[in-house]
């Protein structure tokens, strides 16, 4: 009784590494909460994909990519913050998504689930997770300088606008990866909470990324295990596991 290694579990683990790492950068960018709401932009894509009978993942990815481009363009044009732009687009997308998504599919889209996963799907998710991780590794120096001081980054030869755009795209992709088992409402938790745990425990970049990714994976393992033992719904259980680890990290910091 307990944890069995299924493709669905491995998919969740690989997605958790990606959300942990991108969550760490989102936290440094001070856009974690905005990133959380950004996941809802996937909803209209999921709804339309179900209506047209195509893979909801593709619908979610397209909607998020369009959302990311919109946010980036509008941010540049209006001078408003990323956070504000995500807020505007999120509300519109949530309304549109609720209208177009069939109501029986809406709960799954919002809260995720444990449906069986084919090997092909697993490989796709693992490949996309690796893509996100590779992105973060390659871009980390440019991201750090841009976050520290955009002018300094610019003078150093970093194309700040390109850095911000790639970040939004990678972030959108990360949310897509988490959507399947966590759903649009809960995926943000695996972006926010592991990064918060990492920030509690460390002050250097490599360990921040490592702890953030690690606690994200731990949350998934505990979540799967508890959900298997007690028959709880998976998504909320994973999120609560993450919250529990966060509480423990608070104790650790006091000591």
């Amino acid at each position: 009784m307990g944890l069995t290694i299924t493709p669905a579990f491995l998919l969740a683990i690989s997605a958790a590494v990606a959300t942990g790492i991108m969550g760490a950068f989102a936290q440094m960018k001070k856009m974690t909460l905005a990133g959380d709401t950004m996941s809802h932009i996937a909803l209209p894509g999921i709804g339309i994909a179900i209506l047209w009978n195509i893979d909801p993942l593709i619908g979610a990815a397209v909607a998020l990519a369009i959302g990311a481009i919109f946010i980036w363009k509008l941010e540049k044009a209006t001078g408003l913050s990323t956070e504000t732009m995500i807020g505007v687009i999120f509300a519109s997308a949530l309304a549109l998504g609720t209208l177009v998504t069939p109501s029986e599919a809406l709960i799954g889209a919002l809260f995720g689930g444990t449906g069986a996963v084919s090997l092909m799907t697993l490989f796709t998710y693992v490949a996309l997770s690796l893509l996100v991780i590779a992105y973060a590794w390659i871009e980390r120096n440019r991201l750090i300088l841009t976050l520290f001081n955009a002018d300094l980054a610019n003078v150093t030869g970093v194309n700040v606008s390109r850095v911000n755009f790639l970040f939004l795209l990678a972030f959108a992709l990360t949310l897509v990866l988490g959507l399947r088992f966590l759903g649009a409402i809960l995926v943000g938790a695996l972006v926010i909470i592991p990064a918060a745990i990492g920030r509690q425990l460390t002050e250097t970049l490599p360990s921040f990324l490592f702890i953030s990714a690690g606690s994200s994976v731990l949350s998934v393992i505990f979540g799967y295990w508890i959900s298997a033992v007690y028959g709880f719904q998976l998504g909320p259980t994973v999120v609560l596991a993450a919250s529990a680890i966060f509480l423990v990290s608070l104790l650790k910091k006091r000591m």
Partner: protein, 273 residues
């Protein structure tokens, strides 16, 4: 590395496209600025500023708050749109020290992470991180300190070390001593002078503090939206100039249009005197 050079060559192509500076002019000069104008919306922030920067000199820009000093620096760095020309010598490598308060100190990175990020982007060796840190007087232990835990003085040194990475020919400092106590301030100026001699740097420095200017500057530019004085400090900083530079702005702090009219009128009068 490649990226850095690409960016720099972009800067050059922009600079040379106006064709106004002959290449032999750069033997003694690092920079030519001609008729520089900057607008923020309807607000004319810099008006017709022109000057040249000699190689190896310390060029100090002074002026009251809101006089356009930082705007001028950002124009020199091509960070904001402007009209007129800013032409750097083709061999120029710029190190920039922004105002301390403009940097995000809450990142979970230590100083070595920060310097390492720039070194990686420019393709500098790790050794250079240690040599620039040593040059500004930061020890190995400080390199391991999170940027959020650095003292004000050490953070200032860290920003200077950051600027020195990549072996710049020109250092641009924005108010290096703002929010430092006086002792630390003198130390920063001494450090800059040592670095200038040791590395053969040309220094452009913005300051609102006048006390150390005469000893430090080869050339001083007094700025209050227009260039009010330009030259060696002994000649440029007369009592009249001083009064003109620092008397007005407090009265004109308000953004109401009637006040701006008075300001424009005063500038007009000043030019007629």
């Amino acid at each position: 590395m490649q990226k850095h050079f690409k960016k720099r060559s972009q800067l050059h192509s922009k600079a040379s496209s106006d064709g106004s500076v002959a290449s032999n002019e750069f033997v003694k000069h690092a920079l030519f600025v001609r008729d520089l104008n900057v607008f923020f919306g309807d607000h004319h922030v810099l008006q017709d500023v022109s000057f040249t920067l000699k190689r190896g000199e310390t060029f100090v820009i002074i002026g009251p708050n809101g006089s356009g000093k930082t705007v001028l620096l950002k124009s020199l760095l091509h960070l904001i749109p402007f009209s007129g020309s800013v032409t750097w010598s083709p061999d120029t490598r710029i190190g920039y020290v922004p105002q301390k308060i403009d940097a995000d100190r809450h990142l979970p990175i230590n100083l070595e992470n920060l310097l390492g990020a720039k070194a990686a982007i420019l393709g500098c060796s790790r050794k250079e991180i240690f040599s620039v840190s040593e040059d500004v007087g930061l020890d190995a232990e400080t390199l391991k300190t999170p940027v959020g835990h650095l003292s004000g003085g050490n953070f200032q040194k860290a920003l200077i070390a950051f600027a020195l990475l990549g072996d710049p020919t020109v250092i641009i400092f924005d108010e290096p001593t703002a929010s430092l106590d006086e002792l630390a301030e003198e130390h920063v100026y001494d450090l800059m002078d040592v670095l200038r001699k040791k590395r053969g740097l040309t220094i452009v420095l913005v300051s609102h503090d006048l006390s150390l200017v005469p000893a430090l500057a080869n050339t001083v530019l007094c700025l209050n939206k227009v260039a009010i004085c330009l030259g060696p400090p002994q000649e440029a900083l007369t009592k009249e100039i001083f009064a003109k530079l620092y008397q007005g702005p407090h009265k004109f702090y308000s953004h109401s249009s009637s006040h701006r009219k008075i300001l424009d009128q005063r500038h007009h009068d000043d030019h007629l005197e």
